[in-house]
């Protein structure tokens, strides 16, 4: 079974996503990195589902995809509004919630 490979792929994708979330300053890129993380998870779900011979993993993956779409919608809307106000999508400029 090629489970290990799938997991390795997933881990690599996850790490790339995390790196993107933490390092990129462009809001859109951060959202895209989040998508990477989610998809890494999806790969895990599907891999484990296939490995165990059930469809549960795939069902979960479908849910995740749907929710990710919604989340990206909301996220892009926020980014768009930030851009409108600040003429920038640089996340380091967005520190209104500073304590």
């Amino acid at each position: 079974m090629l489970l290990v490979q799938f997991l390795l792929l997933s881990a690599v994708l996850f790490c790339i996503g995390v790196y993107g979330v933490l390092a990129r300053r462009n809001g859109v890129m951060v959202l895209m990195s989040i998508e990477l993380i989610l998809n890494a998870v999806n790969i895990n779900f599907v891999a484990f589902g296939a490995f165990n011979g059930t469809v549960t993993g795939e069902v979960f993956a479908l849910f995740v995809i749907a929710i990710a779409a919604a989340e990206v919608g909301v996220g892009l809307a926020i980014v768009l509004l930030i851009f409108r106000n600040k003429r920038s999508v640089d996340l380091s400029d967005v520190d209104l919630m500073k304590g």
Partner: protein
């Protein structure tokens, strides 16, 4: 319960429950003056006669009800006897408890011998129960406290006496205290006093008796101190109250002992338990001693009598009502009511000595002697009252129950008459001092003089007036007259008989002195009449009259009624065989109706009257009167009609006589004993000791406690509160502040990616932990 044995009787015992509307509703009698008290107190001043009319109406109604109650009682007693066709008075009954075989046998044999002679007469016995109406007042720990009324012959007699004298005193007072500054208040307290006394005599249980006893004490205090602006009056009131407290301790202790031994507050239960030997003899003896102390204070017996003469500071009608006729007989009444206790406690039957008879006879003679040296007419009468109460006390002590109660009855009338007569004189001369303000009053006040004479002769015990009959019965009851065959009384109290006869002679002698100093000789008050210091706020319409004058009808009418009673009261209990003829006649009527024939009354014997004793006692009394007559009417009068004593009399020539006179003047030094030695002797050292204790023990303790408290408080404040508690509070505050500062500046920076980093780190850590531990 015990069963009833009638000994010496042939027929079966029958107990008759006497009933009747007036008897069952006798509680109305005290309720009337009680309501009157409240009305007078709140509305009296607004009424046209300042409240007097309310008092008179209430007491008048109470008197009518009392007469009806007494009539109903007499009627019922007669019916009860009629149904049996016999005469209950010759028989008696003994209560024997089934449970105590020994006592039963003992009582049986005693009583068998006791009633042997009476059995020959073959009268069947009809016992009669007292009318008792009661309800539970409150209940505590399984003990029911009842309140109610108990009506029997003794009660109806007292109701009659109290209401009649109270009514006469009310009428008399409307004139005597007319214009007084506390007129309304005075009538309110007369009403309250009457109500209290009636409540007391109707008591169903000893608890009620205690309440009534204290109530009359309070009223006495208020009325003695009626003119409290003058220090001696308020002192006298306090003295009366405090002296009574001494005896009241005895009353409380005695009643509590009786309650715990009989397990009931009811008078009937206590008497039955005492007679049935359910209570140990020693217990009864101690209870009797305690109650005797109460009698000594309330009924003015030696050595607690000192308050009574001082109580003459009150208005004269009050003296007549309270300190002659009613309140002071509360003690006598209490003994008569609880006679079973005293009878058994002192083993009166078959004895020749007991404390009660001793106290009574000593009082009788001691107070009689004191009456000789008093210049104040009311004080003479006060000591006379003490002396006569001694007669009653002695009679109860020797077992002459009926004689004591009968003497109470007759004495109430003639003593009230004497007091009111003295009041009538003083109303005219504005003083009570016989030596300075009186003398020759018979010319000015012939009507007062006549009534006073009648009452005096009654008091002297000369036939055929009231005092003779009751005094004679007491002398018979002592059983000490062994010379001519005896009188077959309960014991042989020879000392009581001797004291009784001496007392009778003394009474005659000092009353002759009063009569001379007040009514004969020459009026000595002329020079005093212009500076009137009557002291009762009396309006001065007679203050400047030049001569004394007869009192008005409201004063004279009560005097007439009382004199009439002083003449006839003695005929209520003529000795048997005195009037031959029908047994339903007058003889022993009082005894017939008043003395209980019931299980709550001991089987007392009744002395047989003796002509020799009556004649001897009367001769001795006349000798006393004659000696005094010779001294005053002949020798003093010959010296000068205005003189009050011989210039070279015995007291100025004979050392012993002078010493005796001084002792009497100083009232046996009893007041000195109480105020100087007992009170003075205790108050100095006690006060010093108390002061020392206060300063060194109590204050020191308090100070020490205070100091300790201060240092503890300081420690607590400085160390625990300021440092520990506040420190902890401050610490938590500053800690959270610092933490907040750190987290604000380090974490909450608004950098989304930093948050994300923290989140990931945390997730990694959690994941790592899960890896390790699961």
């Amino acid at each position: 319960m015990g069963s009833l044995f009638i000994l010496g009787a042939e027929g079966p015992t029958e107990f008759v429950d006497i009933a009747g509307w007036f008897l069952e509703n006798a509680w109305i009698i005290p309720a009337l003056p009680a309501i009157s008290f409240v009305i007078i107190l709140f509305f009296g001043k607004k009424l046209p006669y300042k409240g007097a009319e309310i008092g008179i109406t209430a007491v008048g109604l109470a008197f009518i009800l009392s007469v009806l109650t007494a009539g109903q009682w007499m009627n019922q007693v007669d019916n009860a006897h009629g149904s049996e066709g016999g005469h209950g008075e010759e028989a008696a009954l003994v209560l024997v408890d089934d449970d105590i075989e020994l006592a039963s046998a003992e009582a049986d044999s005693e009583a068998a011998a006791f009633f042997a002679e009476e059995g020959e007469e073959g009268h069947s016995v009809v016992g009669r129960n007292a009318v008792v109406e009661r309800f539970t007042w409150w209940e505590n720990g399984g003990v029911e406290f009842k309140v109610g009324i108990m009506v029997d012959g003794l009660t109806v007699m007292m109701l009659f006496v109290v209401t009649l004298i109270s009514l006469l005193v009310h009428i008399y007072s409307t004139d005597y205290v007319d214009g007084d500054r506390r007129y309304t208040h005075y009538f309110a307290f007369l009403s309250l006093f009457t109500a209290s006394m009636l409540f007391f005599v109707l008591s169903e249980n000893v608890l009620q008796m205690i309440v009534g006893w204290e109530l009359v004490g309070v009223c006495s205090f208020a009325l003695i101190g009626h003119w409290w602006e003058e220090k001696p009056n308020s002192d006298a009131a306090l003295k009366a109250f405090l002296t009574n407290r001494v005896g009241d301790m005895g009353l409380l202790i005695g009643m509590i002992i009786l309650f715990w031994s009989a397990n009931s507050w009811s008078i009937i239960d206590i008497n039955e338990a005492a007679i049935g030997h359910d209570i140990g003899h020693t217990t009864l003896f101690i209870a009797s001693l305690c109650l005797t102390a109460a009698v000594m204070s309330k009924s003015g017996q030696f050595v607690l009598h000192t308050w009574l003469p001082d109580a003459m500071a009150g208005p004269t009608p009050v003296s007549a009502l309270i300190h002659a006729a009613t309140m002071v007989v509360a003690g006598i009444y209490m003994v008569a009511r609880l006679y079973g206790v005293f009878w058994e406690g002192y083993s009166i039957a078959g004895s020749s000595f007991n404390i009660l008879a001793l106290v009574g006879s000593v009082t009788l003679v001691g107070a009689g002697l004191l009456a000789f040296v008093q210049d104040d007419i009311k004080k003479v009468l006060a000591y006379s009252t003490v002396s006569q109460l001694g007669y009653m006390c002695m009679a109860l002590g020797v077992g002459a129950w009926t004689a004591a109660v009968f003497h109470l009855f007759t004495h109430a009338f003639f003593k009230a008459g004497l007091f009111l007569g003295a009041g009538s004189v003083s109303h005219s001369v504005h003083s009570f001092d016989m030596k300075t303000h009186m003398g020759g009053m018979r010319k000015f006040m012939p009507k007062t003089f006549a009534t006073f004479m009648i009452c005096t002769i009654a008091l002297m015990g000369l036939p055929p007036l009231a005092g003779f009959w009751s005094k004679d019965e007491i002398l018979v009851g002592t059983g000490g007259w062994g010379f001519f065959g005896g009188t077959s009384a309960n014991g042989s109290y020879t000392f009581a008989l001797v004291m009784g006869i001496i007392g009778a002679a003394l009474t005659c002698a000092y009353m002759t002195r009063v009569i001379y100093l007040t009514f004969f000789g020459e009026w000595r008050g002329a020079e005093h009449m212009h500076h009137d210091d009557h002291g009762d706020g009396h309006d001065d319409d007679h203050g400047h009259a030049h001569e004394p004058h007869e009192s008005g009808p409201r004063i004279l009418i009560p005097l007439y009624i009382l004199s009439f009673m002083a003449i006839v009261a003695g005929f209520f209990n003529l000795p048997p065989g005195f009037i031959t003829g029908s047994e339903e006649g007058w003889q022993e009527r009082f005894f017939h109706y008043v003395e209980p024939v019931s299980s709550y009354f001991p089987a007392i014997k009744h002395g047989v009257p003796s002509y020799s004793l009556a004649i001897f006692a009367t001769i001795v009394a006349l000798l006393g009167a004659f000696a005094s007559y010779y001294y005053f009417f002949v020798r003093v009068n010959r010296q000068s009609p205005a003189a009050t004593e011989l210039a070279n009399g015995l007291t100025s020539t004979n050392k012993v006589a002078r010493a005796g006179h001084t002792v009497l003047k100083e009232k046996y030094y009893l007041d000195h004993l109480y105020t100087d030695i007992i009170a003075g002797g205790t108050k100095g050292p006690v006060a010093d000791a108390a002061y020392w204790t206060n300063q060194n023990v109590i204050d020191e303790t308090v100070n020490q406690v205070g100091r300790t408290a201060v240092s503890t408080a300081t420690f607590v404040y400085e160390t625990i509160d300021q440092k520990l508690v506040d420190g902890a509070v401050n610490l938590s505050g500053s800690a959270s502040e610092g933490l907040g500062e750190v987290s604000r500046s380090a974490l909450q920076r608004g950098k989304v990616q930093q948050y994300a980093a923290i989140m990931f780190i945390a997730a990694t850590v959690i994941a790592g932990l899960l890896m390790v531990f699961i």
